[in-house]
């Protein structure tokens, strides 16, 4: 990694999905581009009209499907092009952020922030910081396998029961 730009120069890309509102943050990313502010390449941006359009479930969908990180950015509070979209977004996204740990998905893999159309340098900073963070965390674990008990799984259970473990469909009852 070069210290000056913070751009990753080695290692493979990770899958980072960005959801950006059209009016502020997408514009901010454009501003960063126009100013040639160098950034890591991992991020793929999906443009939406407003951060209020971002369903927390899009973020969940991305994380479940294999994203290593998800970055959301909208207009600063009070500056929403649609007056109130980012206020609703903030509530929804904050709940998701607080909920994530229970699923075992590292909440660090999801961040939301505000970048205005004039803040090209800030956008560079956000992308660099977030990409570096995801690279520090490494590839995200993925939910594996099909539904129900496949053969391998049944064998594991058999072994377990032989060694005195409870059948898995009953073991939570003690909770």
């Amino acid at each position: 990694m070069s210290a000056r730009t913070g751009v990753l120069t080695e290692g493979r890309e990770l899958r980072i999905v960005g959801f950006l509102c059209n009016w502020c943050s997408y514009g901010g990313a454009d501003t960063a581009g126009v100013a040639r502010f160098e950034q890591p390449t991992d991020l793929r941006i999906i443009r939406v009209p407003c951060s209020g359009r971002i369903d927390p479930l899009f973020i969940m969908r991305a994380l479940v499907s294999g994203a290593d990180g998800v970055l959301v950015s909208g207009c600063h509070p009070r500056d929403c092009h649609y007056a109130e979209g980012n206020y609703y977004a903030r509530r929804r996204l904050e709940l998701l952020k607080q909920f994530l740990p229970i699923t075992g998905i590292d909440p660090q893999r999801f961040e939301y922030t505000w970048v205005s159309a004039s803040e090209g340098a800030r956008w560079q900073d956000v992308v660099t910081k977030f990409t570096n963070r995801i690279h520090d965390l490494g590839p995200a674990p993925r939910m594996q396998g099909g539904s129900g008990y496949d053969e391998l799984c049944l064998k594991q259970i058999e072994e377990g029961v032989k060694q005195g473990a409870a059948c898995p469909c009953h073991k939570e009852r003690a909770l």
Binding site: T41, I46, R47, C50, G52, A83
Partner: protein, 657 residues
Amino acid sequence: MRIGVFVCHCGSNIAATVDCPSVAEAAKLFPDVVFATDTMYACSEPGQDGIIQAIKEHRLDGCVVASCSPRMHEPTFRRALERAGLNRYMLEMANIREHVSWIGKNKELNTGKATELVRIAAEKLRLNTPLFANQFDVTKRVLVIGGGVAGIQAALDCADAGIQVIMVERETSIGGKMAKLDKTFPTVDCSSCILGPKMVDVAQHPNITLYAASEVEEISGYVGNFDVKVRRKATYVNWASCTGCGLCMEKCPSKKSHDAFNEGVATTTAINIPFPQAIPKKAAINPEFCMKLQKGKCGVCAKVCPTKCIDFEQQDTIVSEKVGAIVAATGYDLFDWTVYGQYGAGRYPDVVTSLQYERMMNASGPTSGHIQRPSDGREPKRVVFIQCVGSRDKSVNRPYCSGFCCMYTAKQAVLTKDHIPDSDSYVFYMDIRSPGKGYDEFTRRAQEQYGVQYVRGRVSMVYPKGDVLVVRGADTLAGTQVEVEADLVVLAVGVEASKGAAHLAEKLRISYDQYGFFMESHPKLKPVETNTAGVYLAGCSQGPKDIPTSVGQGSAAAAKVLTLFAKDKLESDPQVSSVNQNRCVGCLKCTMTCPFGAIKDVKDRAGNTKAEVIETVCQGCGICTVTCPHGAIQLQHFTDNQILAEVNALCQPELEF
């Protein structure tokens, strides 16, 4: 669906760091892509013709253009699609310039990223459907916020074109900052002589309604149909009958009121008309200084007023206006110069601001144009001008150049010599910025003809010595320290956005930068437009500007308004929400989160409650789509399925390449 992909080189802007032909080659393998090519300049005439030709030749249903930001050229390519007979919404863009080629140098990574961006654009396009605009009526009236020279110009141009204009001015008179100036550079003609007639025109124009001493309270609606509430602040004078005779001013005993128009150089009366040429020429009471309003005793003005128009009980009133467009021309305010403690700003009476100096030189000012030291009234013989006070100074968070200070400082130095022929003037400057017609010649004249001493360097401090001020600074050209004993120090104070500009921007739903200046839609190509349709900018509200530029922008904003009003009907953006009535369970949560009141409840045939979108009111934010748990209300062109298609294209491992 038959999709065509066009990968733009943008000369070398993209092609230098993205392998465009291989992006096009990869795109050929994407589902539904039947044609893919790279092109030198997609937006050029041959580029657009190539797209149109390909659409016809390959019977394409939709196109992906991988080039610059859609914020730049989406309208261009949409028009190209329409010329080829396709619906404009069958276009998707992949931003491989601002988001790829310009921000990374690794060609391999960039090419992979560009390919994926094309991929998600194609996946979304597969779910796009043609959308058609609705038409709606335009209210051909315009609101101009701010009665400075930019707002006046915009208002007069619109009014002359036959458009009804509502002008709202915060102060009790229009005229703005220009009304305070003595002379204007580089012609040194009298400011009020050229502005005055325009102000009178505003007052007399049959198409202009002027609300002075008023502020915009609330704005709702959308382009073509804004509803504006204007707060008319209490002036305690019934303006309908006030003749502006000024008798009240003569008799008012409270003579120590702050004189905002004179920048605090002098005091005025509690009831006052700010200056003789004021428009409207009406008296208003400053309640802070009025003895009747403060202590309940006095009422002299009410006794002497020949038309009995004083009303101490007056309250603010709210008037509603319907307009189709808005011009924001809120101007500027001076940076708080008192943070420069080293210049004695705010502490030494003989350290004044440039605007205060204008009032001191102005023939209609408190000293009738005689330059006098505020401390002892003596005529100064040596005047020092300090430039860039609150401009180009990161330490006070004002890194930008205020633009016109170099010029007015030269003007003020020249005028000082005119007023006091035996005086000497010194200007401490960083660089002389004079890039206008006749501007540089003017600053040269100041130096060569008027003998103004220009010292290149910053002033480190100003301190009093006897009855003079010592200005200590560096002369970086001579490489020495200099000290000048001055009778008067004038600070060329930088400008910042007008107070309350950010607050107004929120009402207008337009963006503003960190200094409060409003954001234009494009820094070069759309300097007076904003990202909110129907809202335009003029003058210093967008950034520091001199008078000619402000006037030019006023006219430019008027031209944009007239262009808008040239049509009788506007087309609504069809990217609005739409309710699937079969899925809607009538909980109306969407109506609770919609910021625009764009969703109403209706009954279906069976009498069940359903939500329905008012298409012309919907702005297309999509808050409702996220609110609705069963996905019954979908924002067209950004439906759940379209965004999911993009997410899935990015995240599903089997789709990796």
